[in-house]
Symmetry: C2
Subunit: 309 residues, 2 copies
């Protein structure tokens, strides 16, 4: 179904206003950047517990990365080529006191002061699994491969009235590093298990073959190839619009892209393949609020049971 | 006691290496930016639960902000004047395809590509309570004031070999907005309660009157005034060095600075005073590892009981 962007934007603004009025979101003044109420955060915490329980039989390693990543690592990931418009580069002030007087003067005169800053050693994390690969660089994986449980804030510079399209949000991921077969099996397993998990919470999810929003004309070719090779699946559900569905979980198979880039090998000497499943935590909470209402106290008994709330 | 910075740096590097070797920290390649193991994160989660339980009788509002803040809000806080060297300004690429080719070429030629980026609408959060004030802007507080429970990642651009001096870390805060008396009482209450809470966990903390590291020569004057007026207290404990102690919790009384800046008033028409207590979550976990050892399974029974681990 083809919706005009005006109609969609109206639906987004309306739903965002409802979330703000209910106090679930707090406006920061910037589209896509919100404070979350304790009730909103509580659903995320409960869902995270559910993810942990649903993955515990696999005994994953657990790692938590902060929202920034080394600039050097960032530049190993191709992100500057494929998603430059989404990046976040962190800059700071490195001058002396005289430079500082000038900086403050510029800002007071409403001139562009931030151009006088210098790039730091860090960038915003673009995807929760990016910080992991350099920690496995130049290693040979064990026979059984590795499974890692991650959660991180990721940044995407795409201001939008859609409350589900945040500029900063959390991904909870299970990442597999291993052979092509291990990576493939991980993707297939979690696509099915993720769908079951979300359906059990009452969400009307369905899997679709998807593609990333690669930049520019060259990006359109990459997107077509990605779709053709079925490297990306998403589980989509209604949030602000019931016609244009929102991806709340995604599963990516990276082939041996990161294995090559970071020299991660399998015992037979081949470059490791990687695959991840990522639960979009804020979006899943939003989908739950959409489906079951803004007051979690009134959610169905089975759902509250699964979330242990 | 006066330690040479070389001796201190050696102590920092040694302890950081021990934490890396134990797998509690994962190196990102950038000083002060680390991945945390599941065991490390588990202590933070347990300590957060403890903070929640110790504050629950006060029924605080709960809000969670992401690691970025509106640039406009940032500029209302004086941070650019007082801590420019610590700031994080987020920049992104806004050009067309031709600009993009140039950007990638620059990066491949090892030229300074990041200067071609544009400042976005957001900055890194400098302190967990900053995003709160604009959400209370132009309001009159209730008679009893407001108490808000916050947690956020904050960024400070100060690369250091000290594992406790991270560039990005989480603060858990209780913030009070109200009259001067209410703000003062909040500061005094939490300074005492915070000390008791940390002592109960076996940490050798002590309160000290402190000052912020304001920038430049003017900053030294501000620091002296802040200390003289006793606006900042810290609870310090040993982490990498037992001689140079580390602040693991701090309590700030802002007078009516934010009340004026954001036009927040008390019912009698005066500008609101604010005060906060902030628990440095990564540092508290590090202080616990220092005191009780790297394996939480072997920590004293009472400590495990209080943390419910």
């Amino acid at each position: 179904m083809c919706l005009s962007s005006d109609v969609l934007d109206d639906a987004y603004r309306l739903y965002r206003q409802q979330l703000l009025d209910a106090g679930l979101l707090l406006s920061s003044g910037v589209p896509g950047v919100y404070g979350l109420s304790g009730n909103f955060e509580g659903i995320i915490e409960a869902f995270e517990g559910y993810v942990t329980r649903m993955g515990s039989h696999l005994s994953p390693e657990v790692v938590r990365f902060p929202p920034i990543i080394s600039r050097k690592t960032y530049l190993c990931t191709d992100h500057i080529k494929t998603f430059p418009d989404l990046m976040g580069s962190v800059h700071s002030f490195r001058g002396n006191e005289r430079d500082h007087v000038r900086l403050v003067q510029k800002q007071e005169d409403a001139e562009e002061w931030a151009e006088d800053l210098d790039p730091t050693e860090v960038m915003m994390v673009p995807a929760a699994c990016y910080p992991l690969y350099p920690t496995a660089a130049n290693t040979v994986l064990p026979e059984e491969g590795r499974l890692v449980d991650l959660r991180a804030f990721v940044f995407r510079h795409e201001p939008s009235p859609d409350p589900a399209r945040m500029q900063i949000f959390r991904q909870r991921e299970y990442v597999r590093l291993g052979t092509a077969e291990q990576a493939h099996a991980h993707r297939d397993y979690w696509l099915k298990r993720g769908e079951e998990m979300l359906c059990a919470l009452g969400l009307d999810v369905k899997p679709i073959v998807a593609n990333d929003p690669f930049f520019g004309r060259g990006g359109r070719v990459m997107a077509a190839t990605q779709k053709e090779q079925e490297l990306k699946y998403e589980l989509v559900a209604p949030i602000a619009s019931t016609e244009k569905l929102t991806a709340i979980t995604s599963s990516n198979y990276h082939l041996d892209h990161f294995g090559q880039e970071f020299d991660i090998k399998t015992p037979d000497g081949a470059f490791a393949h990687t695959a991840c499943v990522g639960f979009g935590l804020e979006r899943i909470a939003l989908a739950m609020f959409k489906k079951h209402g803004f007051d979690a106290e009134t959610w169905p008994h089975e759902v509250r049971g699964l979330l242990e709330i």
